[in-house]
């Protein structure tokens, strides 16, 4: 199957007073129809920047795409003119954000805002667009949608605003939805409802989703594939089951051990990852994780590791997977054992 989105070698840099920051140093990923790719990492790892670059939302200057390719349904995105991009954005690919309030216009009713993409991208007339907008709000689980559509954003709760954003994003029936921390600002009971909603809409419509998140619980809930980013690079990429069952990068292992155990019957001490990520205005010569890594060898500090194949569709950027490296417990090995 052809991927909906395919990104190879994407690099993004920002000019700052302190020098050039290499925010994204290499992103490779692909998303198939009806599938969800989770891009996971902590603040500053480049996950949001990379996807903004795909959407053509990097302000330039100071930002610049310095390398790589991004294709949406086979069509190259990074060399399009702003006008060509405008025609694709909102129609073939749309994005929802952590803070829906800032993405909505406070002076227009909810219904008007959901109707707008329907008129713009699907050429519906006013009343048809309104009826369709109400139907979309209903589909995203807004009770009394007809009445709610006449209200303004400020009377909506955070969960209802995010449902509204999803309704707007789906209006043009995109083949790709990029969701940037869509539930991070929401309470856990509302988050669960929004995640269920995204999963069921994806099943109905077959769209591809890129989910940007820092929350491994959300990843486990929604993702089919996962790309773990650290210091601007994808350090591990795998099907979700393999990533959790046999993590291949020490950072992935570290993230999991820093979290409370998922099993209510188990309780082990939390293991913090010491230190902090590197400064990307002066990227490290070797592996960016080496200073925090319990397994780091001298080679790790000197030379950047390539991606090693660990299994079907499973890669990790770690020297420990070199044939001559010592075996480490807790890490996925090349032969599939762990």
């Amino acid at each position: 199957m052809n991927p909906v989105l395919e990104v190879t070698g994407l690099e993004v840099a920002f000019a700052t007073p302190g020098g050039t920051v290499q925010a994204v140093r290499g992103l490779d990923c692909r998303v198939l129809r009806g599938q969800t790719l989770a891009v996971v990492g902590e603040s500053g790892c480049g996950k949001s920047t990379a996807m903004q670059a795909v959407m053509g939302l990097i302000p330039s200057p100071p930002g610049r795409i310095t390398g790589g390719q991004a294709r949406l349904n086979g069509r190259s995105l990074l060399d399009l003119s702003p006008r060509q991009l405008d025609r694709i954005r909102g129609r073939e690919m749309t994005m929802i954000f952590q803070d829906p309030m800032s993405a909505l216009n406070p002076t227009l009713t909810i219904g008007q805002q959901v109707a707008e993409p329907l008129r713009m991208h699907r050429g519906l007339g006013h009343s048809a667009a309104w009826r369709q907008a109400v139907a979309l709000l209903e589909q995203t689980g807004i009770a009394a949608a007809e009445r709610r559509a006449r209200q303004y954003p400020h009377v909506f709760s955070g969960g209802m605003l995010q449902r509204t954003m999803i309704a707007m994003a789906l209006a043009a029936q995109p083949s790709l939805l990029i969701a940037d921390e869509p539930t991070s600002a929401l309470d856990v009971t509302i988050q669960a409802q929004i995640l269920d909603l995204l999963a069921s809409l994806q099943r109905q419509r077959g769209m591809a989703i890129v989910l940007i998140t820092h929350d491994l619980g959300v990843v486990a809930r929604l993702a089919h594939r996962v790309a773990v980013m650290y210091a601007g690079l994808v350090v591990e990429s795998a099907p979700v089951e393999a990533l959790f069952a046999h993590p291949g990068h020490p950072y992935t292992v570290g993230l999991r051990q820093a979290l409370p155990d998922p099993d209510p019957g188990e309780k082990r001490p939390l293991q913090p990852i010491p230190g902090a990520p590197p400064n990307l205005s002066d990227p490290p010569a070797g592996c960016g994780y080496a200073p925090r890594c319990p397994h780091a060898m001298r080679l790790c500090r000197d030379r950047p590791p390539p991606l090693f194949e660990l299994g079907p569709d499973h890669q990790a950027r770690c020297w420990l997977h070199h044939p001559q490296a010592p075996r480490r417990s807790g890490l996925q090995n090349r032969d599939g054992g762990s």
Binding site: G217, P260, P262
Partner: protein
């Protein structure tokens, strides 16, 4: 050590409307204990913490610290007098540190509140605190913006502990931090708690994390405590339908379990829950609500050893 009785706090919303943020909460904290206070936004957990710390005046009820009643509304002299009783760590390590003060100045204020005097003494003690929270003495001359979120939270903890309080109230101390840093801060709080013999009120929305930190856990909903008990027991076998909902809603970092999870019951949004009913505060969203639940509020009752639940389904005696 701390006894809170029937604490009430409301806020005016304008146009004559008020919201009862804390609605008659009673709880106790034993010396050396960690009590986790869990709830979603709007549950009143932060307001409760701030009211106990004296940052907000209370409308009603009593707070006793080591047997002594605390004032309803603090004056400046009360803050000084009680600096060695209760201190607070805040969620936002950006907003809670004076951006124009050096770390030395921030820590010196706390040390002075604890009764220390003299430039050299303050400097030496402040340097000691930085080391205790995992920073270095050379950080004393820097400003808050020069630190990462996790480092700022370390400074916030050092500031709060500098007067050597006996009770530390932590209001969502880790929710603004990255996962790897959250574990660092939780571990640090655990270490300091042991070495200083601190009592901790740990306010958070993440039940799994609270279970790691706390001896007991109290769950708040719409201004009231709905369940309280040993943290591990509450997490393993939640009794109140709201606690069960919170735990069921929390996605686990385990795809096998997540794939087989049942969808949540349609519990809606707090915004859809409507005005408070005369009965149980959770009845509007409760999947198990019976008609009687909407009429009389359930009492918080001890159902098994040390486990208290405010739910009519757990009251065996006849309803009034």
């Amino acid at each position: 050590m701390l006894r809170v009785e029937q604490l009430r706090k409301s806020f005016r919303l304008g146009r004559g409307r008020t919201i009862q943020a804390v609605d008659g909460v009673s709880l106790t904290l034993a010396s050396g204990e960690v009590l986790g206070l869990v709830g979603e936004s709007g549950s009143g957990k932060s307001t409760l913490g701030r009211t106990i710390a004296g940052l907000l005046p209370r409308d009603g009820g009593q707070v006793f610290f080591e047997g002594q009643p605390l004032p309803r509304q603090y004056r400046t002299t009360d803050f000084r007098r009680l600096a060695r009783a209760i201190q607070m760590v805040f969620q936002d390590p950006f907003g809670s540190l004076n951006p124009r003060a050096t770390v030395l100045k921030i820590l010196a204020e706390g040390l002075e509140a604890g009764g220390l005097r003299g430039r050299e003494v303050l400097r030496r003690e402040a340097a000691g605190w930085l080391e205790r929270v995992g920073l270095a003495p050379e950080h004393l001359s820097r400003y808050p913006h020069e630190f990462s979120g996790g480092q700022r939270q370390r400074i916030g903890i050092a500031r709060a502990l500098a007067p050597r309080p006996r009770l530390l109230i932590c209001d969502e101390p880790i929710s603004a931090l990255d996962v790897s840093v959250q574990a660092q801060i939780v571990t640090l709080l655990g270490t300091l708690r042991q070495s200083m013999g601190l009592t901790l009120l740990f306010i958070a929305h993440d039940l799994a994390m609270v279970r790691h930190v706390a001896d007991r856990m109290a769950v708040m909903y719409r201004g009231g405590i709905v369940e309280i008990g040993p943290a591990d027991a509450v997490f393993r076998t939640p009794l109140h339908p709201y606690t069960r909902l919170l735990i069921a809603a929390n996605p686990l970092p385990d795809p096998v379990r997540e794939r087989t999870r049942l969808p949540l019951p349609p519990v809606g949004d707090l915004a859809d829950a409507g005005a408070p009913v005369p009965g149980c505060r959770f009845a509007g969203r409760c999947p198990e609500a019976a008609p009687a639940c909407r009429q009389t509020p359930p009492p918080l009752r001890e159902v098994t050893d040390g486990r208290w639940v405010g739910c009519w389904h757990h009251v065996t005696e006849p309803r009034r």
